[in-house]
């Protein structure tokens, strides 16, 4: 089984966010890390490979610094690491790039996460499946093989409901957090992984041009702290004072 895991590098401790050129946000960030549910997708890929054999390819799209997450993926157990050299915030365009790369890479099973921490859109996984025209399932919490050419997955429907779905392969599955325990990566393994050179794909390599990536159909008009729907009353003072006030407020609720 050839498994491709889409891992996104997401910025942490973001500050100075503003609307920049080309319908994109600009920001400063202290570090980049692998998106949380993509880490879970990597762990699931490792378990599946152990059961069925095959290889794991970690794929990311981003600038050169996003290569960091590929080293993490290699340290966890990815056999090959690939970066598409493109910087795209628009989820629609991102799915176009990933789909074009995946067409070139191939794969029986493609894993993505459910949501990336920076764009918070929950869009790219399913959208990529649709561009590839393959079956998909969102928020998957278990995967098992079902014959030679299919998988059976359990996916969340919300409110404590879920469904078991049979998908013919190739398929794309959006992995939900918690599917496997996350394993700690020892620093020595990470050091070794850094010696691996990621394959870099340009847009031309996957048959796209910069023009294909332009966000279409909308304009970002601003970015700001949200308008409070409810004006939270901030309670200040020593812990004892604060708690006394709170308990009094709580008594008023019926």
């Amino acid at each position: 089984m050839k498994i491709v895991v889409c891992c996104k590098a997401v910025p942490g401790s973001v500050t100075d966010v503003a609307v920049g050129e080309g319908n994109a946000l600009t920001y400063r960030s202290q570090f980049q890390a692998m998106n949380e549910c993509d880490e879970y997708a990597m762990e699931e890929a490792i378990v599946l490979k152990r059961q069925m054999g095959g290889e794991i390819i970690a794929l990311t799209m981003g600038g050169i610094t996003t290569q960091e997450v590929l080293y993490t993926a290699a340290a966890k157990g990815a056999d090959k690491i690939i970066r598409v050299d493109a910087q795209v915030q628009d989820p629609r365009a991102a799915s176009k790039v990933l789909a074009a790369a995946l067409k070139k890479i191939g794969g029986d099973l493609i894993l993505t996460g459910t949501q990336s921490r920076d764009s918070l859109s929950s869009f790219v996984g399913v959208a990529t499946a649709q561009q590839l025209d393959v079956p998909f399932a969102f928020a998957v919490t278990a995967i098992e093989k079902d014959g030679d050419n299919a998988i059976r997955v359990r996916k969340e429907l919300g409110g404590g409901r879920s469904a078991d779905v049979r998908l013919p392969l190739p398929a794309l599955v959006c992995i939900q957090t918690g599917i496997q325990p996350l394993n700690y990566v020892p620093p020595a393994r990470l050091m070794r992984a850094r010696q691996q050179r990621p394959t870099s794909l340009s847009l031309a390599d996957i048959g796209l041009t910069q023009a294909d990536l332009a966000p279409r159909g909308y304009r970002i008009v601003g970015v700001a702290p949200p308008q409070r729907t409810r004006q939270a009353q901030m309670i200040e003072g020593s812990p004892a004072e604060v708690v006394t006030t709170l308990l009094a407020k709580m008594k008023e609720v019926r």
Partner: protein, 325 residues
């Protein structure tokens, strides 16, 4: 631009989900502002009851796509069916819930129809001839506002609880069955069974007071602090999803979109950032108290009372004073 506002109804076992009524309320206001009609699309099998339920809740017309094949359809087929329906109706603005169901269906439809899609939206308005949405970015402490180009059909997925449900005047909406040949569409997988979580002994939905722990707790050994506090207040302990994912607590304690929806008298969020999927499960609580180190944490957007600080300074004190009575 021609076309109506259309709400894709979400329903389960013959009942519309709460988010559907929220979207009808918002959709009605938008349709009136845009000078168009409000339509509803109900997809599934045996959805006559859902359509009848919604007919007097504000829409001008209801369209159903009712087919036995949709009973066990994986999302791929549901999306193809919805796309066929939407091609017939050509709405200018399609609203659906940013729920687990909508997170799967929305992008699937948007790609096929090639419409502008905005997911995880906290608001949708009509401003100077354009549909404008706001949605969280980064850790949710900021909202980006996007204006959809006029004359561009759009699909907007609204967070559950983002807009209220208001009683609307009935338009006695006619119900029309759309002619879509579902059997001819690509199947792309199949639902083998639906599973509903069994009722457990620990039922946080019954608690009057919930003290909930988030990742800010840092360490599972600290859970006892939260549990003691909940007990001292005569309530129960809840939690955010990462605690369950890490195996600190069982799923039955989880509050949110993929956990329990709770509406206690008092909900105390300790070290919880307030992601939309967490809010989806507790924003209707009568009083929300948030304790968080980060003054910009989105949880303060829904809290009635906020404490900016270290939960380890406040929670034990709360326990102590509650015990004194």
């Amino acid at each position: 631009m021609p076309g109506n506002v259309l709400v894709i109804a979400e329903h389960w076992k013959g009942e519309p989900e709460g988010v559907t009524f929220q979207m009808l309320t918002r959709g009605r206001a938008l349709a009136d502002q845009m000078g168009c009609k409000l339509d509803v699309l109900v997809i599934g099998h045996g959805v006559g009851g859902v359509a009848a339920n919604l007919a007097d809740k504000g829409p001008d017309a209801i369209y159903t796509l009712d087919d036995p094949a949709l009973e066990t359809a994986a999302c791929g087929l549901q999306a193809e069916a919805a796309v066929a329906a939407l091609r017939q109706l050509s709405p200018r603005l399609t609203l659906l819930g940013y729920t687990l169901v909508g997170m799967e269906l929305g992008p699937a439809i948007a790609v096929r129809l090639d419409v502008t899609a905005m997911t995880n939206c906290v608001s949708v308005d009509y401003v100077d001839g354009a549909v404008v949405v706001a949605r969280p970015v980064y850790d949710g402490s900021l909202h980006a506002r996007m204006a959809i180009d006029p004359d561009t059909p759009a699909l907007v997925a609204l967070q559950k609880g983002a807009t209220p449900t208001l009683p609307l005047e009935s338009k006695n909406a006619p119900v029309e069955k759309l002619p879509v040949d579902v059997a001819s569409l690509p199947k792309r997988g199949e639902v083998l069974q639906f599973i509903e979580e069994p009722v457990s002994d620990v039922d946080i939905t019954k608690a009057d007071i919930i003290v909930s722990a988030g990742r800010g707790l840092g360490d599972p050994s600290k859970l006892a602090l939260i549990d003691e506090c909940a007990k001292a207040l005569g309530g129960m302990m809840g939690c955010s999803r990462p605690l369950v994912d890490q195996g600190w607590l069982p799923r039955e304690r989880q509050v949110g979109a993929s956990g329990k929806t709770v509406t206690p008298k008092v909900y105390i969020a300790c070290g919880i950032s307030g992601a939309s999927q967490h809010l989806a499960g507790m924003s209707e609580s009568r009083m929300i108290i948030a304790i968080n180190k980060d003054p910009n944490a989105p949880i303060f957007q829904v809290a009635h009372y906020g404490i900016v600080g270290d939960l380890f300074e406040y929670v034990p004190e709360l326990t102590a004073q509650a015990r004194k009575g």
